[in-house]
Symmetry: D2
Subunit: 310 residues, 4 copies
């Protein structure tokens, strides 16, 4: 590289991200995630948006204001102009969720072609999570030490047995594509995963969410807080403000909030009742209604009173 090229590259590279190129961030007992390469920066988001707006508008918006505007109004195409390529090691169970995001390019380690990676996600005694009662697809709290120890022991033996059987099949000359069929879902796989920033934000908004499964959430938080934040700090701020930390209110909810703000409790209750939110059990308590309960959580978030709980 000569000096002129350094200058050229300097203007399109992000030093904070170049600094961690190739550096693996560990996740879970044996997983990792690292940046292989990327294209674009906060500036390229602005640059792409401005080709839409034509010349002469550069002074009107500051970069930061423009990026926040794009995020707020879901003008997504300028964010597509940034691209990142990651390399990661993930348990197959987690990968099953990951791969559901279709707008990415993927090259995964092939257990048809090569021997399965000799590592599985192990669970420590204090990591066994209890099924949530309220949320059919969630967990809350942890198993006690005794049960934890028992489950971890069992898991260790199962991992070991599965791997022995896999190895025996391979040694017996069985095809790798078939020998792998009974590996546990906790077996690690590796992949190159390339995605644009718009679709990555969409992935993060779903997978950094508190309802996402813990394992994929751990990977997502590394991607968000260690990688994207370094890469496009202004877009990341906007994402935190307008996506991660935002709440959406439906037309009905806005109507009820309007009545609340006018101190018109009666009409607020009427709207809620018409929506079927206020049906009661025989004992007079409100029946469970998911839509109403979620609205109550959003009202609590903004310290609003809740007409039917006064």
């Amino acid at each position: 590289m000569d000096e002129k090229q350094f200058d050229k590259l300097d203007s399109i590279r992000v030093k904070a991200l170049d600094d961690i190129l190739g550096k693996p961030f560990p996740v879970l007992n044996d997983g990792f995630i690292r940046v292989i390469d990327y294209m674009g920066s906060d500036e390229s988001i602005v640059q792409a948006a401005r080709v839409s707006y034509g010349k002469g508008t550069k002074k009107v918006h500051q970069d930061r204001g423009l990026i926040r505007y794009l995020m707020r109004h879901r003008h997504t195409t300028p964010f597509e102009m940034c691209e990142i390529k990651l390399h990661m090691r993930v348990p197959m169970d987690c990968w099953r969720q990951w791969i559901r995001h279709r707008t990415a390019s993927v090259n995964e380690y092939s257990t048809r072609y090569s021997l399965a990676i000799d590592a599985a996600q192990s669970t420590k005694p204090d990591e066994w999570r209890i099924q949530s009662e309220s949320n059919r697809q969630g967990s809350e709290g942890y198993a006690d030490a005794e049960m934890g120890n028992k489950l971890t022991n069992e898991e260790t033996k199962l991992h070991s047995l599965s791997r022995d059987i896999y190895n025996r099949r391979i040694e017996s000359g069985i095809a790798r594509e078939q020998a792998r069929k009974d590996l546990p879902l906790s077996t690690y796989t590796e992949a190159y995963w390339k995605i644009d920033l718009h679709n990555l934000f969409h992935f993060l908004s779903l997978r950094m969410d508190s309802h996402a499964q813990l394992e994929i959430r751990l990977y997502s938080e590394i991607i968000g807080k260690e990688i994207v934040k370094r890469w496009v700090p202004i877009a990341w701020d906007a994402f935190e403000d307008f996506r991660l930390g935002s709440n959406e209110f439906s037309k009905l909810e806005l109507d009820i909030m309007s009545k609340i703000n006018m101190n018109n409790n009666e009409d607020a209750l009427l709207l809620a009742d018409n929506a079927g939110w206020l049906e009661k059990r025989e004992d007079g308590s409100l029946k469970q209604n998911l839509e109403r309960i979620e609205f109550e959580e959003k009202l609590n978030r903004i310290n609003s009173k809740i007409p039917w709980l006064l």
Copy 2:
């Protein structure tokens, strides 16, 4: 068809939409839109969601509640299970916007292969819209009668001249692919357009919006109110409530609303000020700040007070 098949089809067809299959809805001076075929219904959204949830959960959710839940939480894949195919005639200028939606299948009339459709979108004297001052990509109000007449006359002559030149090129043996090069953008084209319901809702949320250009908005409103509403009435209701009529509040906005609801004006102002929303001009009035202005509109929608406008 024998009777058994009638029964089978009965369960997967939507009578209200079958009734208008092939019927063109007119749009603009010479455009139209009509349904060619479709697959799925409100019931197939539910059916697809329930394969995810497994057996034994049918009683818990009513169909309506489930569809609203899916819409609210942007669980989009069940909506992808419905598909619709439309046939339309649209000015090329409008088509240029339409085709930006990439997740659809398209077959467009080819002016390389066939003669260009002999029709252009004409503008009546009272339809000329004035450039909006506040919104660089919008319009407000209409030109007066005198100017309208003048512009319409000019347009008529231009359409006529362009078509004459096109025809002369064709008669001179020029290739259709080249002869068309100077047709006005107002020339009509036709297309088959096939899209799933999730992506159609996304299209409609952008193109039924008041900021969308009038022409494409007219098509979108037909699609929404005449077609989708007949096809999947429950999903349409949820879409109107949770998308068309909803508002999203950022983390910062929620924080400020929280202070407002606690009657803590001082902290509300502080938060706004830290965000740079309250900078003043020399005359003491607030500088224009798009983010703050949009928040004010959302606060007005719910009849909330606005701390800095008290």
Copy 3:
């Protein structure tokens, strides 16, 4: 449904496919695949292609000729106008390959939300395949009875143990999302899978190929020969002729074939040699060269002589 509607539907439905709607075709020991719904037919491919070609061209092409033309020249959009929705039960290991096809809509059975399906793909003693020597990702031949019996026994025990451990975790109150982590990849899952005909053909061309893994090939063959063939018989014929049974020859290969046909062996050998295909081992035999070997197979297919094997 009244009579008029029957007629309308008659023209857009395919009786041969309506006849098997919902009927499951069994695959593997406990899998199946069945059609839930579809949209379009051979006629809609033609209809969509003709909107591109405009009016007045209907007589020129017969439907069959047009569909073959579209397939031959990879004019893919008219095939996208047909859509099909399948429901299937597939081992997760097979599903891992399936889901790599991104242009489909999917709703999969959730083992976070519900108990894992209590079935795994079992392997009979005579079904254990031997690793291919020549193809790193293939198999050839089967294990003998003794080894087969041993491996099947081991598999049965492993399946049973894995399921016991899963059940014990569930009974201990462990969250379903975590309890499932060590299920074997052979565990069955279910999904609704919706895809357009163009992308389905692409899927089939890869997964009906002799290099595809046996398990997914069995599903693909059902889809192709039992479903697509009934649905769009003309397009299926074209697919068999122009995709499944076709061969592509590179520029270099065409050049060599040209020399062969002119009986110019010398130049044919020169071209091959320049490409590095004719390097020899010390014993005078040709070194292995994948590109040359694949060309030889294609030449054999057309009974051509092979200059370097004369």
Copy 4:
């Protein structure tokens, strides 16, 4: 940038492409195309493919052989690992074709937001192409000087008039979004266009083809020969050999070639006849049959005899 970073970047940048970053290649009378940024190289294709193949296989394949293998067998995902972002100025008529490729990210200059670019694609007297007789969507030869002059004159006047009318609308305060409605399709637009290498190769295979319209072909050839060739020279070579210069033969065609190579003319004729290729007119000449004619062209390419033309 410090020295360590130079080294790091050196390994992931392609000097030959960095050399032309930002440099516009002129196309047509006022268009251009230039590279804004890119990610990846020949080496990243190999790197991504090798994650699939696992460790220990590096020596087996040489990079060149591996890339050619991937191209030949349409293993497309490693090519997706390279990404490029271009900036171009293109006539809207050409852009209408361009934008049909859906797997790209696009930011186009907005004529709602800004004044339309004041330039249209003009046609010189010797550039008017004559409609092809044999190919409904093609051209062959050029108009003579007299007609060329006449048509160019007419075009110049039309461009001038259209622009005057556009300007008068703008001066009259008409909204930009409406004022533009009668601009000729030859008006230039600009866009940022970002696409991965696999999809770019697909674009090039269609748009560098001799059947593509001249205008978009000129852009494609710049992309291919001036940009992609510099960027990924090994992949480009493979693309030229296995895509641009290749021919595909259908099952039927392979069967006939097999008979030809066995000097079994009788059976070759029988196969062709059964396919309906040999129907005759009253005067004994062969009826036109597109499939047969295209096969004849492919047979001529390899200097094969053609049984029915002996």
